[in-house]
Structure formats: C-alpha cells, structure tokens
Subunit: 208 residues, 2 copies
C-alpha cells in the first residue's frame, strides 16, 4: 500500500468520531460535505482521504454511515481489541487508567505499573498498582500491545527501554521528552505544555 500521511490518519479518526454521532442519530447516509463541515476540513479532502483506501460512497447520494464507520474502524485497526498498560500511577496515569474514551475504542487497560514502593500494591479505580519490575514477566504471560507512559521526564527513556525489551511495539508518551526507540516501535508523544505553547504563540503573534 502507498504510504499514508499521518494527517490523513488523524482525519480518519475524526471522521469516525462524527460518523458515530451520525450513527447514533440514526442517519443512513452522509455526504463528504457534511462530514467536512463537522470537522473543519473540505469535502475534497474527505473524499481524497477515503480514496486512498477504496470507494465507499455512492455518487449522488453520499456514504452509508454504518458501513463507512465500519470500514474506517478496519482501516484504523480498532475493530479489534488492543491490550494497553499504563506506566506511572501518578495523577495523570491514574486519570488515563480510568478514562472511558479508551475502552470505547477497544483499548483495554490491563494494568497500571509504578516503581514507587509506597504505591505498589495499593488499589485505585479497580487497579492494583503493580511493580514496574514485574512488567516484563507479566507481558510474557499476557502480551501488551501499547504502553502508555505517564512518568516523569527524567525516567521516561529508561521506562521506554524496559517496555520495548518486554515486547511492546507501540508507546504513547505523556512525558515532555523525545524518546529514542528501535525502528519497529511506534511512538507518539503528547506534550501538554507544548500544546499550550502553540496557543501562546497564536495569542502572541495574532494581529488583532
């Protein structure tokens, strides 16, 4: 398959979000124009994005909502379940552990890890915090697809190395630190301060 741009994948996620809203409202079909209006993009962009994966619409009519949603889920790989672990039982880690948005999309949080002895063994939101050291052996028993890292920046590279060694092939990193991982491991970093900086830039350089 031709290389798909990251931006296209992000938009597909958005489209899926809207399709599920439309699905809930019982609509049968939706046009690229409606989908675009909802997501702040253009109808051409919607059609181009979808065209990379096939032809899902009917000319003159639009796209069948349920079917398109299902196809996008397939494309994104979210029609199956993914096994997720959270590393870091701080405020952010625990908030993520109980976040419903993950489960809704088939991301099953299996366990929460921490290296702080004071936290290990304690219960929070139905999770018993496990020792980080036990992650590799746990992962052998029950493979982990995605590790969410919510640990302090100075520790995150070490933790990333550990989860990669444990066979994890995708990492969602919340620490403000750029990870170095082998090529076969996918990483996304969410840097919340960076997002605010983006807003700060706009506020500062906005000519009004």
């Amino acid at each position: 398959m031709k290389h798909i741009a990251e931006s296209t994948v992000r938009r597909l996620s958005l489209y899926l979000l809207f399709l599920e809203e439309f699905e809930a409202r019982g609509l049968d079909t939706i046009s690229s124009t409606e989908l675009a209006a909802r997501g702040g993009t253009t109808s051409t962009q919607v059609r181009k994005d979808l065209s990379f994966f096939g032809s899902f619409g009917k000319r003159g009519l639009g796209y069948p909502v349920v079917e398109l949603a299902s196809r996008i889920r397939q494309i994104l790989g979210v029609e199956r379940e993914w096994s997720v672990v959270i590393v870091g039982a701080g405020k952010i880690g625990l908030a993520l552990a109980q976040y419903r948005g993950f489960a809704q999309r088939g991301f099953q949080v299996r366990a929460v890890y921490d290296s702080d002895p004071a936290k290990i063994g304690t219960r929070s939101d139905g999770f018993v915090i496990r020792a980080l050291d036990s992650l590799p052996s746990d992962a052998r028993v029950e493979p982990v697809d995605i590790a969410v890292l919510a640990v302090p920046a100075p520790a995150v590279q070490r933790v990333a190395d550990l989860v990669v060694d444990a066979g994890v092939r995708a990492i969602l990193n919340f620490a403000p630190h750029q990870l170095k991982v082998p090529a076969h491991v996918a990483v996304k970093t969410v840097n919340m301060a960076m997002e605010l900086e983006g807003l700060s830039f706009v506020l500062t350089n906005h000519d009004d």
Copy 2:
C-alpha cells in the same frame, strides 16, 4: 510577518525543551546538527525554522544556548505569564491542575471550575473547586488567557461558548469533540483516544 506553519511552532517548542537541557548541562553553544539529532529532525530543518524569525547563530560555531532559548521563549510568547483556568474537576481536570509542566512554562493555573454541586466548594490539590457559573464574573475581575476544558464531550461545546463569552481567547480541549468557536479564538484539541488510534493504525498496517 509571513505565515508560520504549525509544524514549525511545534518544533520550536521541542528545540526549547532541548535547549533547556543543554542549558542545565552548562553548554555554551549548540549546532543545528546536535539540536536536530536530539529531536529527530534534520539540521537544515532546524536552521530553516529559526530563519523565519532571524539569524541567531554564528557561522562555524553554532547557536548560543542561553540566548537562543530566550529568543524562542520570546517567539512562543512564554517569557511572560499566562493565566489559565481548568474547567472540569474530574480525574483528568484535577491531574492537569496540578501538572508541574504548565507552571514551568509560565502557565499559571488560577482556578478549577465544575458544574457539579457535589464538587463545588471542595478542595483538591490546593484548589477550591468553583462553580462554572461564576467563571464569567471571575474572568472580569482577573482576565483569563487560556481555558483548559476537561469536561465530557456532550458538554464541551456549551462550556466553550461560555468561556468564549467570558473573553477567553484560547482553548485547550481534552474532550473528543471538535469545537466551533469564533475566528478570533484559538483552539487546540488533544484527543487521547485519537492518539491511540494512530498507534493502532501503525500496528495494523505495519508490514513486518
């Protein structure tokens, strides 16, 4: 000024992160190559990004670490303080309220709001949860630059409308919902499930 790409701004944030590391390590100068290696980009990209804003380096030598960091802070508008409020005193909102990464960059969390009467008035991490209804009058007394929205998706548009009416000009949205706001308001949405979907896509379509 020429229009600056979002991707450039994101990279500037990254450069600043690295520069502060270098600063802490006491290095005087840094080359575009070193900066690039650290952030997974190319030296040309670094120089091009910086060139939009001026010439900060010395040929043959590199960039003065402290000065470049300071200039980037200026460009991003983070050499000043920004007044931030959090709306939504759920797990995620409270985690964000106490997140140190914000304060480190001059983003001062002034207050946490919620509309749940059971939460209003309770104390958490040093914040007394305020009634969402009081946000507009609070904002008149002490202006709010940025609102961070950590409320359920169905409520977020209503909340966004409220904070925009209260004079907020930038929103960081954590709800999985695309906001509609007036043109003069800057919005960034962090959709955590969407990030996982991006990883899911890579895991699914990765040919190995």
